[in-house]
Subunit: 337 residues, 2 copies
Amino acid sequence: MANLKDLAQHLGLSQATVSRALNDYPTINAETKKKVLEAANLLNYRPNSSARRLATGKAGAFGLVLPVTDNLLTDPHFVDFLGGFTEALAAEDLDVVLTASDNPQTYKRYAESGKVDGLVLSNPKIDDIRVQILSEMQFPFVVHGRTSGPAQYAFYDIDNHGAFLTATRHLLDLGHRRIALLNGTTDAMFARSRFEGYRDALAAHDIKVDSALVFNAQMTEEQGYTHTRILCAHDQRPTAILCSSALMTLGVSRRLREEKLQMGRDISVISHDDGLSSLKTENFSVPLSVTRAPIREAGTEIAGMLISRINGTAISDLQHVRKAELILRASTSTAPV
Amino acid sequence: MANLKDLAQHLGLSQATVSRALNDYPTINAETKKKVLEAANLLNYRPNSSARRLATGKAGAFGLVLPVTDNLLTDPHFVDFLGGFTEALAAEDLDVVLTASDNPQTYKRYAESGKVDGLVLSNPKIDDIRVQILSEMQFPFVVHGRTSGPAQYAFYDIDNHGAFLTATRHLLDLGHRRIALLNGTTDAMFARSRFEGYRDALAAHDIKVDSALVFNAQMTEEQGYTHTRILCAHDQRPTAILCSSALMTLGVSRRLREEKLQMGRDISVISHDDGLSSLKTENFSVPLSVTRAPIREAGTEIAGMLISRINGTAISDLQHVRKAELILRASTSTAPV
DNA sequence: TTGTAAGCGTTATCAT
DNA sequence: ATGATAACGCTTACAA
């Protein structure tokens, strides 16, 4: 395979000129440029990316660390995010580098290795040490989500609080008073925000949170099933369920069927909908009422934000909160009297 | 951040010695090595991977091109594969580089860029030009699946033919004669193999394939639903359905419920089960009978194969076919009389 | 066992 | 507009 040197020799030009021609430098002769491009094509020249990286100090790639323990590697939400992210970067000729690890220090090593120009931080915990580590290093990163407290970092998040506030309020307006919440694990910031939205809506109606109606768990089908079974075994079962993920709602739905409870008639359900292409909430047996914010969009947006960040955009200009829409379908109705 | 030079100066040693100490060369003094390691730790030294790559000619990463058109980016099968793959490589300190593209030529450019030491080829078509391109380049790659004809390349595949032969045979043994097949798209090799297994089992009972009972489609919930509706609208609806994916079977299940047909009583269903952690076939309302082969395992195996390949293992020693197991649960029973 | 020095294939600086 | 030449940070003969 031809390298720069070969190409330069073949053309009778210096490597510098060839390099310039290839990289669209302004001061290059149009004629020369044309010849170089032709020769490059002819000799099947491909720039060696390691050499280029070494010379420029840029990696041309962004990184993603997959926290193994979080089951991110098996989470359908993740693949949708990754799709948006990778596609957006491919358009700019940037790669995505994946690494699996549980260790927060991996982020540090990773950032320092020069393998990537920036990182995405997925699944932020309420108080996430990774944010601190990367901030101190001054390494470019964008958080998908937020941690608690004021954010001194770039992030893209959805309005979890607002989404669940609105959803809960809607159920209250329909007359529901015993509303259950099936949420993500307690360490996840998004789960806390959603809980607070839920709590605040109830508080406005002078209803206290009943801890027997709130569950935190992995958002799997199984967990949805299990907790719905528990909920239905209550003396006074809830008349409505809020659920943090469509996958989990699949399990809710399965259990309700077994309980002979019809969604949208006997019991109302609002699910959060990440817009997963493999699991559409409008296709549930009873089409779901949802709070919707496509996670794929987050991937696309964060790709752009990361690029902006390394190009010098200030952190304060890279803090996006996306509203979720409440979409009402057949799974909600007025509370039974 | 400290580099080799700094470290060497700090220690009063040559860069060469430091490099050797860091890379476990045999000829290094134990004492020296210890000092180097300590200093490296103290100065927070991280080798620059671009430089190392340039010097060694190895990328320390394997690549995966995501064919956008195939919806691989939204396919839950993919995330499970990726999980196994990335985790296995992380254990060897290797990265995964992702790129999105539809163009077969991307593979060539990618391979030649030096960004990766090897590639995984996902979703092989019946006659896949990518296999040819990479073979001609003599670039290390492993196919997840197979193409038609004799395989001159490294691959890991499951025994699709055998799985569907066995499944179909089992349904025939239960007395079923009108058996439908909901399969992947016709361009996918795995879909052809499964079809042939199905066809061969039927042939052994002198049954010809009824084209009205065979569908090829994207393996989504929606498609499962739609085609089951069509199947049930037949004058003589099938008494059994074979389905190529659990996700699709979700749609089958939804439609059967609407048709008031109970799985395992009114109609038998066998699904293929890729062992997706987010969608367990034992958790369906009616636990599914399946042909099972975890796709995550493929990720793990292929990671190992790729490593072997670049270490010189012959292609002929890197051609693995994994049997799928037939697991019988509640969704199958004898044909109604 | 360690040091010297020549690459690896680019880009970037400084001349011309 | 182009050419020399020095980085970039590491590995690896070859010497010592």
